[in-house]
Symmetry: C2
């Protein structure tokens, strides 16, 4: 497949949310202009984003809400569910396990790991926190698609090495470090402090 830009993928995720809302309101068809308005972009952008994957609309009419939603789910790989494990049973980890947005979209947290013996064994949202030492053995039995890393910065690279070694191919990283992984593993890093810094930059440059 032709290389798709990250921004296109992010916009597709947004469009999908809007389509779901339109569907919930019983709307059956939608124009690129309307999707654009909701997403803060242009109709040409919407059409271009979709055009990378095919042509899903009807000229003069627009798009079928449910068909386009199904198509985007397809594109984003959301036709299946994903097993997700969480490494790090801290505050952020706790918030993420409970986050309803994950399960709604088919991301199932199936295990939580921590290094701290005080946390190991406790129940978190129905899951027993396991010792990180079990990662390799557990994943050998039950492979996982995605790992969310919520450890302190110092521990993250080590954890990631073990995850990669156990066959994990996608990592969502909340630790404030740049992670090194092989080319076939994809990492997305989210850094809260960095987001605030883009705001402070905007505030001080006006």
């Amino acid at each position: 497949m032709r290389k798709i830009s990250e921004s296109t993928v992010r916009r597709l995720s947004l469009y999908l949310r809007f389509l779901e809302q339109f569907a919930a309101h019983g709307q059956t068809t939608i124009s690129s202009a309307e999707l654009a308005r909701r997403g803060g972009t242009t109709s040409a952008q919407v059409r271009k984003d979709l055009s990378f994957f095919g042509s899903f609309g009807k000229r003069g009419l627009g798009y079928s809400v449910t068909e386009l939603a199904a198509k985007i789910r397809d594109i984003l790989g959301l036709r299946r569910t994903y097993r997700v494990i969480l490494v790090g049973a801290g505050r952020i980890g706790g918030a993420l396990v409970q986050y309803p947005g994950f399960r709604q979209r088919g991301f199932h947290v199936t295990a939580i790991y921590d290094k701290d013996p005080h946390k190991v064994g406790s129940r978190w949202n129905g899951l027993v926190v396991r010792d990180v030492r079990h990662i390799e053995a557990d994943l050998a039995k039950e492979p996982t698609d995605i790992a969310i890393v919520v450890t302190p910065a110092e521990a993250a690279q080590d954890v990631v090495d073990r995850l990669v070694h156990s066959g994990v191919k996608a990592i969502l990283n909340f630790a404030p470090v740049q992670l090194a992984v092989p080319a076939d593993v994809v990492v997305k890093s989210v850094n809260m402090a960095l987001e605030l810094e883009t705001l402070s930059f905007s505030l001080s440059n006006r």
Copy 2:
């Protein structure tokens, strides 16, 4: 000032982190190549990013770690501290208040608000949760720089309207909605489910 791209700002934040680490290790000078290696980019990119703001290095030598760090703090507006309020005393809110990365960088959470009477009055990390109704009056007395919105999707736009009306100029939004704000207010949205979807996209397109 010439328009600076978001990606440049994000990279500057990263460079700053690395510089702080280098400083902590007692390293006094650093080359653009070394910064690039750490940040997963190229030395030309590092130099170009910096060049928008001035020339801070010495040819043949590199950059003074502490001087460059100071300069980037300056650029990002981190020479001062920021008052931050949090709206929504839920799981994610709780995680954020405790997040050490914020305070370390001068972002001080000074108040937490919630609509739920059961949460109002409870203590969160030393702060008493206040009723959202007090936002206007509180901000009139003590203006705030940044607001973090962690409400459910339905409540977010309403909260944001009140924040904007109370003079807040920067918003970090965790609610899964597109927010409408006047042109002089800057919004950064973070959406966890969307991040996972970029991963599922990568997983299903290889």
